[in-house]
C-alpha cells in the first residue's frame, strides 16, 4: 500500500505489482491533534480498503511519502505544518498497529522519484533526477539505481539551490534567492506581480487583482497570446534551465523528469527551459541529458510513488512475544543490564 501524507489530505491506496492503483481512499490529515488518534483513523481507513478489496493477508508492505520524513529513522522530523510534535515515529506506530507489517517512509519528492523509476518515465534508468514543480520545488535524486538520502536522510533539496546570489527573493525557508522562490507555482505568480509593477507593457493580467494572480492565470494569459505572460514563462524557464544544468554537473543523470502543475505548461515553459539548459551545460555533458515529463497520472502519482517504497520496506515493528515480555520487562534478571 502507498500512503501520501499531505498538509490537507492523507491519501492511501492498494497497488499491485504492475503499478495499478486497485483502490484508494483518504482521510483529513489535521483532524486529530494527537498522533495516536490520527494513526488509528488511518489504520481503520486502510483496513476498510483492504477488506473491501479482498486483500487481507496480501499486503506486502507500506510505503509512506510525508513532509520531512526520514528514511533512516522512519520518523517525521520537525515538520512545519503538522501538529504532532517535533519527532513523529511514523513507521514504528503504523507497523505496530498493522501487527509488524514492513513500513518505510520518505519525503514526497523522493517517493515520486521511486514511483517514476518503478512505474513511469524512469523505468530502466539508474541515474536520473526528479523535479516536482508545485507550490514549492522538490526533488528526488537517483544515483546507481538508488535514491540519494545523504548521511542524515534529507538529501535532495534542489528547490533550495541558490539561483540568485544578490538581491534574491525571500524564500519560505528563510534564505534568499532559492530556485523555489522563482520556479514554483507561487514563484511564477511572484514574477507576474514583479513584471506588472516594473514594466508598462499592456497585459490582460492587469485586469486581475494583482495580489490574487496565480500561475494558472499567467498560463491562461500566455496561451491566449499575452506577451507579458509569455515573458514570465521565458524568465521562469531560463532560471530553471540554468539550475538544471548545475544539477547535471553533480550527478550526470540520463534524464531530468519534471512533475507537477507547472510541468504541464508545455512549450511555454519547456522551450526557454531546454534552450537555456543546453546552453548552460558544461561542454562534456551537452546533448546527453534528456528533459522529460513524468508519465504518472497526477492523481495516482503520490500513492504509486509511496507504494514503490513499500515493496522494499524492511522496518518491522517487533511484536513482543509473551516470553520476550517476561524476560525483558516483567521479570528482569540480575544481568539484564549487561
Amino acid at each position: 500500500m502507498g500512503v501520501d501524507i499531505g498538509g490537507t489530505n492523507t491519501v492511501f491506496g492498494i497497488v499491485d505489482a504492475r503499478g495499478q492503483v486497485l483502490a484508494s481512499d483518504s482521510i483529513k490529515t489535521l483532524k486529530h491533534a494527537n498522533f495516536d488518534d490520527y494513526i488509528e483513523e488511518l489504520h481503520a481507513g486502510m483496513q476498510r480498503l483492504i477488506k473491501a478489496n479482498d486483500a487481507e493477508g496480501k499486503i506486502q508492505g507500506i510505503g509512506i511519502g510525508a513532509p520531512n520524513a526520514n528514511y533512516y529513522t522512519g520518523e517525521i522530523q520537525n515538520p512545519p505544518n503538522l501538529p504532532w510534535g517535533p519527532i513523529i515515529p511514523l513507521a514504528e506506530k503504523l507497523s505496530k498497529i498493522f501487527g509488524g507489517l514492513p513500513v518505510a517512509v520518505t519525503n514526497d519528492a523522493n517517493a515520486a522519484a521511486l514511483g517514476e523509476m518503478t512505474y513511469g518515465a524512469a523505468r530502466g534508468m539508474k541515474d536520473f533526477i526528479m523535479i516536482t514543480l508545485g507550490t514549492g520545488v522538490g526533488s528526488g535524486i537517483v544515483v546507481n539505481g538508488q535514491l540519494v538520502y545523504g548521511h542524515d536522510g534529507f538529501a535532495g533539496e534542489l528547490g533550495h539551490l541558490v539561483v540568485k546570489r544578490n538581491n534574491g527573493r525571500v524564500c519560505g525557508c528563510g534564505r534568499t534567492g532559492c530556485l523555489e522562490a522563482y520556479c514554483s507555482a507561487t514563484g511564477v505568480a511572484r514574477t507576474a506581480r514583479e513584471f506588472l509593477e516594473i514594466s508598462q507593457e499592456p497585459s490582460s493580467l492587469r485586469n486581475l487583482q494583482i495580489e490574487d494572480i496565480t500561475s494558472k492565470d499567467v498560463y491562461d494569459a500566455a496561451v491566449a497570446g499575452d506577451k507579458l505572460a509569455k515573458e514570465i514563462f521565458d524568465y521562469t524557464g531560463k532560471i530553471l534551465g540554468e539550475a538544471l544544468a548545475d544539477m547535471v554537473a553533480f550527478s550526470s543523470p540520463q534524464a531530468i523528469i519534471l512533475f507537477g502543475g507547472l510541468a504541464k505548461s508545455g512549450d511555454l515553459l519547456l522551450r526557454p527551459l531546454k534552450e537555456n539548459f543546453e546552453k548552460s551545460l558544461f561542454p562534456i555533458f551537452r546533448g546527453k541529458t534528456k528533459i522529460i515529463l513524468s508519465e504518472l497520472k497526477e492523481s495516482d502519482a503520490a500513492v504509486l510513488g509511496a507504494s514503490a517504497l513499500g515493496w522494499e520496506a524492511k522496518y518491522r515493528y517487533e511484536v513482543p512475544s509473551f516470553d520476550h515480555q517476561l524476560t525483558d520487562h516483567t521479570l528482569p534478571s540480575a544481568d539484564s543490564n549487561k
Copy 2:
C-alpha cells in the same frame, strides 16, 4: 599499483593493503606522440619497479587516475592536453600488456576521493564530497559508499557549478562564472589582479608585476598581514562556502574534504569559508556537515587514490586462446554474422 597521469609526469607506485606506498617512480607523459610507445615505456617502468621490490606475481590490479578518464569504458575521452587522439583505450592496452591484469580508470579527483575513503579522512564515511583546489577545481562525490559516475562516467564536475550568473569571469571550459574561475589557485591570482586594479588600497602585492602574481604571493602577503591579500582570501572563502552549501542540498554529505595547494591556506581561507558555508545552508542541514582537510600526503595522494581504484578493478583484457582465434577470426563459419 596506482598510476597518476598528469599533463607533465606520469607517476606510478606499488601500494600495499594498508595504504603504504612501497615504491614509486615516474616517466614524462608527453615524450611519445604515439600512445602505444607511451604504454610500452610505462609498462617497462612499472615492471622495473615490480622487480626491484620483489612484487612479481603479487600485483592484484592497477588503478589509474587520468584527465577525462571514463570509468565505464576504460578510455580517456577527448582530453584537452594529451596528444594521443580523441579516444584512448587506456585500460584495455595496459591490461593487455600486463597479460590480463585487472585495470580500472577514473579522473584524478575521483581517484583522490577513493584514496581518502580507503586510506584518509573519509575512512568509514558513506556520503562525502572531495573538492580538489589546485590549478583548477575538481571533485569526487561518494553516495551510499559508491563513487558517483553518472550515466556517462563523467559526473562530479563541481568546479563548474555557476557561482556568478551575471558578468562572471570567463572559465577555461568556455562558459562564464564557474566556481573554478574564482576558487582555484589561478582564480585567486585573478582576484588579486582585479582587486589591485579596482581598489586604491596599499598592498605589498603592488611591488610585484601584476601579471605574474600567483596564489602563493597572495598567501605570503596575507600571512605577513597585508590587508588587501586577506580580503582576497575572504572573497574566495565566501564564494567557496556558498557553493559548498549548494552541494549539501544535493547529497547531504557527512563531510566535505578539501585537498590541494589552496586547501593549505589554513584559517585565511577556512574562516570565511566555514562562516559563509554555515550561513548559506538550507536550515535542515545546519551544523551537520563537517568541512575538513585531506589526510593524505600530497606527494602520495594521486598514486594512493589511483591504487584504491585498483583493488576493485574488474576489467581484464582477455588474452585470446588459440581455439578462440580459430573459431572467431581465422575460420569464420557460415553463420558468423548472426
